[in-house]
C-alpha cells in the first residue's frame, strides 16, 4: 500500500470517528467513543504495517524533538505565569480563578517531574552519571 493511500484511509477513519464521537456525545451515549477509538486505532495500525515506504526517519525525530522542547518551554512559562496570576486574583475576590490557577500550577509541576524522570533515565542510558 502506498503512503498516499494510507493517508487517504487515515483521513476517512478520522472523519468517521469524529462523527461517531460527536454523535454519541450529543446523544449522551458514553459507550460508543472508547470502542470506536480502539477500533479506529487498530485499523490504522494494521494498514500502517502494509505501507512499505519509509515515512519517519532521524530527521523527523529531530524535528519532533525540537518542536517538543519549544512546546515545553512555551507551555511551562505560560502556565506558571498564568497560574500564579490566577492564584493571586483568586485571593483578591475571585475564587473561581483559584481552581484554574491550581490546576495549571499542578499540571506544570507534573510535567516537570515527568521530564526530570525521563531525562535521568536517558542520561543513564546514554552513558551519563547516575
Amino acid at each position: 500500500m502506498s503512503y498516499r493511500n494510507f493517508k487517504l484511509l487515515r483521513l476517512l477513519v478520522v472523519i468517521i470517528l469524529g462523527v461517531l464521537v460527536a454523535w454519541s456525545s450529543a446523544m449522551g451515549n458514553a459507550w460508543i467513543p472508547i470502542p470506536a477509538v480502539l477500533v479506529a486505532v487498530t485499523i490504522l495500525l494494521l494498514f500502517r504495517r502494509r505501507v512499505k515506504e519509509i515515512t519517519v526517519d532521524e530527521r523527523t525525530f529531530s524535528i519532533a524533538y525540537k518542536a517538543s522542547r519549544v512546546a515545553f518551554v512555551v507551555f511551562g512559562v505560560g502556565a506558571v505565569a498564568l497560574g500564579t496570576t490566577l492564584l493571586a486574583l483568586g485571593k483578591s475576590g475571585q475564587p473561581e480563578f483559584r481552581l484554574i490557577g491550581f490546576t495549571l500550577c499542578y499540571a506544570i509541576c507534573a510535567l516537570a517531574l515527568v521530564y526530570s524522570i525521563a531525562f535521568s533515565y536517558y542520561n543513564r542510558k546514554f552513558g551519563g552519571k547516575a
Binding site: 515506504e53 519509509i54 519517519v56 526517519d57 532521524e58
Partner: protein, 68 residues
C-alpha cells in the same frame, strides 16, 4: 561557523541519474531528508552519512566535507 557540505546531488547524477526516491529507499530515510540534505538544510547522523556513502560505493569524505 563549521559547515558540512555534501556532493549528494552530483553523485546521484553520476550514478545513472539515481532519483532522490531511490537514494532514500537504499539509504533507509525519507525523500524529504534527501531533499533537505541536498539543500544543505540538514546535517545527517554519522550512521546515515555512512549509509549514503555506502549506497554510492564511495568513502565518507567523498560525499561529505567539513569546512571550518
Amino acid at each position: 561557523m563549521p559547515r558540512i557540505n555534501n556532493r549528494i546531488r552530483r553523485l546521484r547524477f553520476d550514478h545513472s541519474e539515481m532519483t532522490q526516491e531511490e537514494l532514500a529507499a537504499r539509504a533507509g530515510c525519507t525523500r524529504q531528508t534527501i531533499i533537505a540534505l541536498e539543500q544543505g538544510k540538514y546535517v545527517p547522523s554519522v550512521e546515515l552519512a555512512f549509509r549514503i556513502a555506502r549506497t554510492f560505493g564511495v568513502k565518507l569524505e567523498e560525499v561529505f566535507q567539513y569546512e571550518e
